[in-house]
Amino acid sequence: MKRSNSNLYRLSRRNFVAQAGQLGIAGMLGSLSWTARSDESIDLPFWNGQRELVTNFPQKGAMILQRTQPALLETPFEVFDQGVFTPNDRFYVRWHLPNIPTFIDPDVFRLKIHGRVGKPLALSMHDLLHDFPRVQIAAVNQCSGNSRGFFKPRVAGAQWSNGAMGNALWGGVRLKDVLDRAGVDSAAVQVRCRGLDSGILPATPNFMKSLTLDHARDGEVMIAYEMNGEPLPLLNGFPLRLVVPGWYATYWVKMLAEIEVLDQPDDNYWTAKAYLIPDTPGANITPVQKDVKMVPINRMVPRSFFTNLKDGAAVKRAQALKVRGIAFGGDTGVDKVMVSADAGHRWQEARLEMDHGKYSFRRWEIALRLANAGPHKLMVKAVNNSGMAQPDDANWNGSGFMRNAVESVSLQVS
C-alpha cells in the first residue's frame, strides 16, 4: 500500500550508479550521504513555521528545508547581510517536477533550437562558449511566491519566508544571438523553453515557459552557463538556465535543453494555466472577489529589506545605530530607499551603495539615533526608477504571488 519515496529513490540511485559506471563518471559532488540531517531548526514567523536547517543537498550549504522531493530550499535570511551577491551554495532552490537528472555530461549535452526557424540547431556547450559573444548581467532571481507565508488570510503553496530570492552575476550568451543563428521565421510569435526535469506520471506536463518573441530577442534575456563566475549548481539549473532579468523566476527555466519557436501563443499548462495573477495593480484583490481577469505573472516589483536587524531586537537609547539592508527595483533600478524610525510618520533617505546594474540587489545603509526609550517600529520602502513605490499595505491573491509590501522590524529601545 505504501509507496514511499525512498523506494523510488533507491531505484534512481541504482540507475545513477549504473549510468555512472557506463559513462565513466567517477566523481560525485556534494554529499555522499542521503540521510544526513541537521539538528538545527528555525522558526519562520507564521503559524506552522518550524523548519529544519539542512546541509545534505549537493553543492549547498545550510538551507531551510521546505520540501525534500522535488527540492524546495530557502536561503536563510542572514545570508543577505553578507554581500550583494548570494553565494551559489546558499542560493534558494525550487523545482516543480520529481525527475531531476542527477548526472550531466556537458560534452554530451545539447541545446536544441527548433520550430519556426530557418535552420534547427543542436548546440554543444563548446558551441555556446566559443561561437557567441559572452555577456554578463547581475540580476535578482525571485520566486513568484516568495514571502507567501506572510499572506493574510494564508494561502496554499510553498510556505516561504523572504528567502526565496537571490542575486547573482550571470554569465552566458544572449538568447537573441542564438535565435538569430537559427533564423526565426516571420510567422513566429513566441519562444517556448523546456528544461530536462519531468514528471513521474506520464500525464504530468513537462515544465515549459514561453516568452513573446520580442521579449526573447530584447538582448537582455540570456542563456546562462555561469553563476557568480562558476558553473551553476545542479539544483540551480546546471548546465544552462534561462535568465530573464526583471521577471519572476518561473520564467528562468533550469537545465534548459530545448527552445521551440512557436507561430501560435503557447497553450501548455505551465504558461497558459499555472502562474496566473489577477490583472489588477500589484496583483491585488480581496479574498471574496470573483470573476477576476487572470494573466501570466510577469515583471517584478520593488522590494527592500532590513538585513542586520532582527524583529524584537533590543537596542540602546541615543546610540548610533547602523542600519543596513538590500533593495531591488523589480524590472528597473532602485531610485531611492526610505527608512522610517517612527512607524511611517517621517521618512529619511538611506545611502545607496555600489550599483551593479538595474536588475541587481542594491545594498543600502543609514545611521539612526533613537532618542526615546520604548518600542520603535522601523520601516523600509524602496522606490524604483519608474516611480513605483512599495505599498504600505500588503497585496493579496489566492496564489500568494508578488508580495512586496513595506517591511518593518520592531525594536525595543532602552
Binding site: M1, N5, S6, Y9, I25, A26, M28, L29, A156, P231
Partner: protein, 133 residues
C-alpha cells in the same frame, strides 16, 4: 582534455571503493581547469546524489490514501507545512493534482483525503511535526 578525463575516470571507476577519493580528485581537477581555462568550466561532468525523504503521513483515517497517492510525485514535507486549510480548499488542491498533474486518485476518495488533510494540519491541534520531511 577529454582524453585525460576518460583515462582518469576509467582507472578509478574500476574500484568502487575509490569513489570518495575520485570525488576529491575530480573536484580539484575541475578547479585547476577553472583557474587556467575559465571559459571551459561548465564542461566538467557533474553527478550528485539528491536526498530522499522517508516521511509518511501521520496515522488517521485517510493516511493510507495520502501515502499511496501523494508520495508518488512529492515528499510529505510541504503538505505538512501548509497553513490550516478547509476541506474545500484541500479539495481544490487535490483536484488540481488530479487534473493538472495526472494523480491517479479515484474521484470517490477526494472527500476522504481532503477531510484527513484538513484534520492533520489544523490550528486546533499542535502544528504538524516539522521534524521530518
Amino acid at each position: 582534455m577529454n582524453l585525460k578525463l576518460r583515462t582518469f575516470s576509467e582507472l578509478l571507476s574500476t574500484t568502487i571503493g575509490l569513489t570518495l577519493l575520485s570525488s576529491v580528485a575530480l573536484q580539484s581537477w575541475a578547479q585547476n581547469q577553472a583557474s587556467t581555462e575559465k571559459a571551459d568550466i561548465p564542461r566538467a561532468k557533474v553527478g550528485v546524489v539528491l536526498p530522499s525523504s522517508a516521511t509518511t503521513f501521520p496515522a488517521g483515517d485517510g493516511a493510507d490514501i495520502a501515502n499511496s497517492h501523494c508520495l508518488i510525485c512529492h515528499s510529505a514535507g510541504m503538505v505538512l507545512l501548509q497553513p490550516a486549510l478547509s476541506e474545500s480548499q484541500w479539495q481544490t488542491i487535490i483536484n488540481k493534482m488530479r487534473t493538472a498533474y495526472g494523480a491517479p486518485l479515484p474521484a470517490d476518495q477526494i472527500n476522504a483525503l481532503a477531510a484527513y488533510l484538513s484534520k492533520i494540519v489544523s490550528e486546533q491541534d499542535a502544528p504538524a511535526s516539522a521534524t521530518t520531511k
